[in-house]
């Protein structure tokens, strides 16, 4: 079985730290929202704010990392193979068909992943980030000389922030589930921990195995 190193050390750290922070912020965020009581409002609000700044710091590092390493290119959307991947997840996965997408170091996300992650990075994250900071600095906005910002009601800011949180929650559920769709339920998760992805399920695709291994080694 071929193994390929696709997730670098910082990338893995970033992923898991971000995962922990996002789950924690969903937990505390919906408490601030008034959905339930776990920590108590005051503590939830303080923890949420601390986690927010930590996540912002992490994002700054991650953005820096993406651009300096060129890894940002992993998220350029493509339609190539997209229909095939969609077909795989809707039917092929049940019939034992092979995954139409081959992971390489230069292209580690399938077309659907690219699209989903891009959506998170360019839409949900900024929405949360901007609305969250506006929420935090609402008083300064209200006191500002810029009429558009000064006139923003807290309710609207909170509405956008909450909507973004729901989007993140839906993404999280889907993402966690899809992480179990490797050739074994834990394969993708293992890869995200160790950095090494098992290329193939040898018993099923033994005929093409060596060819693909060579291809990936060459790339």
């Amino acid at each position: 079985m071929a193994r390929i190193y696709i997730f670098k050390r910082f990338e893995r750290f970033w992923h898991w730290a971000q995962a922990a922070l996002i789950i924690f912020m969903l937990l505390t965020g919906f408490e601030i929202h008034g959905t339930y009581s776990v920590f108590g409002w005051e503590k939830a609000a303080n923890l949420h704010t601390t986690a927010a700044w930590t996540l912002i710091g992490l994002w700054l590092f991650a953005i820096f990392w993406h651009f300096t390493t060129g890894e940002w290119k992993q998220y350029i959307p493509t339609t190539r193979n997209a229909v095939a991947v969609m077909k795989y997840y809707s039917t092929g996965i049940f019939t034992g068909a092979p995954h139409p997408f081959r992971v390489t170091q230069l292209s580690k996300h399938n077309p659907l992943q690219r699209l989903a992650y891009l959506l998170v990075k360019l839409f949900i994250n900024p929405l949360i980030w901007v609305s969250g900071l506006a929420y935090l600095y609402y008083n300064d906005l209200a006191a500002s000389k810029i009429a558009v910002l000064a006139g923003l009601p807290l309710g609207s800011i909170a509405l956008v922030h909450t909507a973004a949180a729901f989007m993140m929650l839906a993404f999280l559920i889907g993402h966690v589930y899809l992480s179990t769709t490797g050739h074994t339920p834990l394969a993708h998760i293992k890869a995200m921990i160790t950095g090494w992805e098992d290329q193939d399920e040898p018993d099923r695709e033994s005929t093409t195995d060596s060819a693909r291994a060579q291809a990936s080694a060459a790339s």
Binding site: I32, S37, I93
Partner: protein, 533 residues
């Protein structure tokens, strides 16, 4: 070395001595700061036979004092508000004892003058100004109800025929000991508004005469020990901070010595400024919407004295099985019914109501129409809204009442309550007679019929400021069903009624559908993998 134990012992000893002396005579603690010893003044070395005689002596040195007092609300009991309404005790009808007119002899024992027994009182008289009621330091100066603010210099029976003998007071001694106003002198009237200790305000009662820190962080007798005038900084006898001219929102800086300010010195901000929270800066983000009092006065009537929450005059006049006026008391011995006054509901440690307040208070006066269909009649109400830019969320006491009105002329009734004549309600319990006398005295029409309307009055809660550690916590308001549940026009994180229901529905629906989707998909994979094997 034995310093630590000795030091500790000394501390204990000092604490004991201090506690003992404080309990015995708190006034002895500091030497007098005044440069005048009034006992050495010849003018005061005489056996005064009446209050005005003392005032005459005072005025021989303090030549302008009465002229200053004549301009004050304490003297005039009259105030014209920004809306042009003529207010003050002289004019308003409240839902406690209702009004002073025709009851002056009783009520006006709290006037800072001598002899206001009816509407013939001379408001230009300088000797009728009562200096001692505010400047007494002995605690012996008393103005019994029924004497129109006069004092007793010879033993007398009050009320006449009651067998209740009032002892005379020593005006000479009192006059020679005059000093600054104190919690006791202000409290002699202001703690007892509405006819008894703590009755009216809820945040002012006799427990503030010598409060501990938990009751009032500023007036703490063993701590900051503020007098009333520490905040109500008085110049030319004009006491600022009247609730008739409230400052709902103070955006000014903390007052600095040497600078002239025209703003109200009694606001929290006049000392604490705009950003008083040093440790938790986020709290400063609340001051644009929330009055300091809202968080820092978690409850009122906290000092062990109950305040009246409602007063139903309509049930007054019942006699007991013995044929005498009925009195019913609660477990603590506080009356909840008296024949003279009707039914009361008392409250201690009361959570305030909260509302937007912009400083404007509108009253229902004698001249205003009262519709029984429009209940409760608002004796007064606070104006304000989330959006007017002038309002803050304030804690208030809502006093609920049921009181006499004329159903034909649709006016609140002026009731002749106290007096030794045939028409006084407390003499013969006849509403029609009592209201006839009351209305006639103010020249108001009276149909001869008396009915009762429910009323509400609103009182700002601003005293009994608790130490910071006892102030409200976030979740007191940031919650559903919290303290500010009924305050509208503002988004409060954590309050479910502020949620957009479409977003809640859509958000949770998407989350649940996603969850169901992945479960279905996963189940499909499990089944498929079993079949494929």
């Amino acid at each position: 070395m034995s310093f630590p134990p000795t030091g500790a012992l000394a501390k204990v000893a000092i604490a004991i001595i201090f506690a003992a002396s404080a309990a015995a005579a708190p006034a002895v603690a500091a030497p007098p700061s005044s440069t005048a010893d009034h006992s050495k003044f010849k003018e005061l070395q005489q056996n005064f036979q009446s209050g005005p005689e003392v005032t005459k002596a005072c005025l021989s040195c303090h030549t302008e004092a009465s002229k200053q007092l004549h301009k004050t609300e304490h003297w005039k009991w009259e105030y014209k508000n920004a809306a042009g309404q003529l207010l003050g005790k002289k004019n308003v009808i409240n839902n406690f004892c209702t009004s002073i007119t025709t009851n002056e002899a009783a009520c006006n024992s709290c006037h800072i003058g001598y002899g206001w027994k009816d509407n013939t009182f001379d408001f230009t008289s300088e000797v009728n100004v009562d200096c001692l009621v505010c400047h007494d330091t002995t605690g012996n100066y008393k103005k019994p109800a029924g004497l129109a603010g006069n004092v007793v210099t010879k033993a007398m029976e009050l009320p006449p025929g009651s067998g209740n003998i009032i002892k005379p007071i020593d005006l000479k001694k009192i006059a020679q000991a005059v000093g600054k106003t104190s919690r006791d002198t202000c409290g002699a009237c202001h703690f007892y508004g509405g006819g008894g200790d703590g009755v009216k305000h809820g945040d002012m009662d006799s427990s503030l005469a010598s409060p501990d820190k938990a009751l009032d962080v500023h007036m703490d007798a063993l701590g900051l020990n503020f007098a009333c005038a520490t905040c109500h900084m008085t110049e030319r006898h004009q006491v600022p901070g009247s609730r008739y001219a409230p400052t709902a929102q103070d955006k000014g800086e903390a007052h600095v010595r040497g600078k002239d300010y025209t703003t109200n010195p009694t606001t929290c901000q006049s000392c604490h400024g705009q950003a008083p929270h040093k440790k938790t800066a986020k709290l400063n983000d609340h001051t644009d919407k929330v009055a300091c009092q809202t968080c820092h006065i978690p409850k009122y009537a906290r000092g062990g004295v109950a305040t009246k929450m409602s007063w139903d005059w309509s049930t007054a006049g019942k006699m007991g099985p013995d044929g005498k006026p009925l009195t019913i008391k609660d477990a603590k011995g506080h009356p909840t019914y008296t024949a003279a006054k009707g039914d009361f509901v008392l409250g201690e440690n009361v959570v305030p109501d909260y509302m937007w307040f912009n400083g404007k208070v509108i009253y229902t006066l004698l001249s205003d129409k009262v519709e029984k269909s429009d209940q409760p009649t608002r004796i007064n109400h606070f104006e304000g809204s989330a959006g007017d830019g002038k309002s803050l969320i304030w804690p208030v006491k809502i006093m609920r009442g049921k009181q006499a009105y004329d159903p034909v002329n649709k006016r609140l009734a002026v009731v002749h309550t106290a007096g030794n004549d045939d028409t006084a309600f407390w003499t013969n319990f006849n509403w029609e007679k009592a209201v006839a006398t009351g209305m006639a005295s103010v020249g108001a029409p009276f149909s001869g019929k008396v009915d009762f309307v429910t009323t509400e009055s609103t009182w700002p809660i601003t005293h009994m400021v608790a130490p910071a550690k006892n102030s409200l916590r976030c979740n007191d308001c940031h919650a559903s069903g919290g303290r500010l549940e009924k305050v509208s026009g503002i988004y409060i994180p954590g309050r479910a009624s502020d949620h957009a229901s479409w977003l809640e529905t859509a958000g949770w629906a998407i989350a649940v559908l996603t969850l169901l989707g992945v479960f279905g998909h996963g189940l499909g994979r499990v089944i498929a993998s079993k079949r494929n094997k």
